[in-house]
Symmetry: C2
Subunit: 341 residues, 2 copies
């Protein structure tokens, strides 16, 4: 076992586009001697990279406190218990939680949420990927907030991403006509050929607003938005009467130095009687078993396709995070730190 704990800390808050220089590498002493009763020392095996992390770097009130300057960046991970003062979590147990950009984390201190014990036999990349938080986000956001009905038209932005691709495929399972918006011919081909979407719009080469008009003559019944900005405005232009807009994220604006203007056509929400609603997965924690059960059936039954983009090397953590914002990631972005023992 190592005696140092490698960490990537938040050095200063990004002003606009997040850069590698916003993070600082540190080797801290391993805190194993300090464990109090009930606490655990876990070793991170696999890190999850999510656009939401970008929001946590800003000093604004949110559903979780901002990452402190000089603290390891908060991130989801699968880890293994290497030292335990808690009989519920014996050494060797695989757990999942927000363990951050570091090799080791001490958890279960007062105020921490107790980490989830990982079900045996499931590949770790599935736990962070197709069965992980992004898929749970897709599940609750689409079904609870979007409430799609069979035969309706569902449009998803960021459709090749970890959340969007699962949203689109659940909508297909529910009998909807589904159109994805993604960047590049390769992603669009994957959505149509592998994921079974009815259509895909390549925002890098096509006019989203015009294409939505052509592909959705009856309007969008549900728009699931991961992108915001001009994409959201284009969708509102074609939203159907009594349509629903699920606000999951707005990645187009996360790295802008100044807040960007919102859609100019919000009056459409009035005259077409549209509901636009934001959500965060943490409000659905008590229903995770239900969602995980259904997602497992769909994933293992081959009804949900997914791609994992797994990088390696502790030194590459900030660089890997940046892939989310350039669109370089091909599917769920992860980074492997170690294999379980």
């Amino acid at each position: 076992m190592q005696t140092i704990n490698r960490q990537w800390l938040l050095k200063h808050r990004p002003r606009a586009m997040v850069r590698e220089q916003d993070f600082e590498y540190r080797e801290a002493p391993l805190p194993q001697a300090d464990l109090a009763a009930g606490e655990l020392l876990v070793r991170n095996l696999l890190l999850s990279f999510d656009p939401a992390i970008r929001g946590w770097l800003d000093d604004v009130p949110s559903y979780l406190p901002p990452v402190a300057i000089g603290a390891p960046v908060r991130a989801g991970a699968v880890a293994q218990v290497v030292q335990s003062e808690n009989a519920q979590y014996p050494v060797g147990t695989l757990v999942q939680g927000l363990f951050g950009w570091q090799d080791y984390a001490v958890i279960n201190r007062a105020g921490d949420m107790p980490p989830n014990i990982v079900p045996p036999g499931v590949p770790l990349e599935l736990l962070l990927g197709a069965l992980g938080g992004s898929s749970l986000t897709a599940y609750f956001g689409l079904l609870d907030i979007g409430q799609p009905q069979a035969g309706e038209t569902v449009v998803v932005s960021g459709a090749a991403g970890a959340v969007g691709s699962v949203v689109a495929q659940i909508a297909k399972i529910k009998g909807c006509k589904v159109i994805g918006i993604a960047g590049g011919a390769e992603k669009c081909a994957w959505l149509k050929n592998d994921c079974g979407l009815d259509e895909a719009i390549d925002y890098k080469s096509e006019n989203i607003e015009q294409r939505l008009g052509e592909l959705c003559p009856g309007g969008l019944d549900v728009f699931f938005d991961n992108v915001g900005g001009a994409t959201l405005e284009a969708a509102i232009e074609h939203i159907a009467e009594h349509g629903r807009i699920v606000l999951c994220g707005a990645i187009s604006g996360y790295n802008e130095g100044e807040a960007q203007p919102g859609p100019r056509n919000l009056m459409n929400l009035v005259v077409r009687r549209v509901r636009m609603e934001g959500f965060v997965m943490i409000d659905f924690m008590d229903r995770i078993p239900e969602a995980a059960g259904e997602l497992s059936q769909w994933v293992f039954g081959g009804r949900i396709q997914y791609r994992n983009d797994i990088q390696e090397g502790f030194e590459n953590i900030p660089k890997t995070f940046l892939r989310l914002f350039t669109g370089a990631n091909q599917g769920k972005q992860m980074l492997r730190l170690a294999e379980p023992e």
Copy 2:
């Protein structure tokens, strides 16, 4: 009985601020000889002026077709049947409907909604005012879309208007803390002293965003918006977790030549899990008896205060409409054309 029908027609569609020159006066022959079986000729007694009319003048798809160039402007009215080919509506009956800017209207042609018969004994100005469409809009928008709970903080923009003032007072009846946003000290004083609001913000002399922060330390649980633009952005800045934004209108943008940018802070809807929903009263037609019954109790019981701004003179119709957009109206804007016979 006259032999001509005075009308105000839409001359051309307003480009930006609506002007008197956008309308044209005409004297048409009275169509009394033309009545087919089932039809009525009604004489308008009292006209209702509502911001929604401005939307109907634009050539955009909406919940009602645009007013045609050269047609009388669509507007709500109370009228009296002066000729009848329909036994359900004998001559003398008082009816309510969208009879437009004219002395006389032929109604109940195929496709028209049958006009509502007015309950006897109710002052006509109450039918268009405190018991009229604007109050029904307030009722359904606040209670069904906003869903305020006792003890919550409700903020209303356009609070001294026909819709806003009723929203604010229903919220008080439901046990909420209520803050109104209105233009000018006189309107704010009326809201606090007569309508019983907890606070009023004068947008002409105060910074809305700053005042909302001071007056709503726990955030806005419900924001009922008649104004849009910067007012909406200020409210989103202080919206509470799980808050609800009721989009009723956006009068600040109705007379802009170009669509104005929307709120820059829509990400607040995500991180605070906020629902923003537009509505139009026509979706609640089947529940009007329930709402009218409750509103009557509140109005006649003195629990809802109201002000009527009743102009006179057929020639003043366009001018009276413009009062809505300068804020000159003191309460519900109407214009009296005749007394019932």
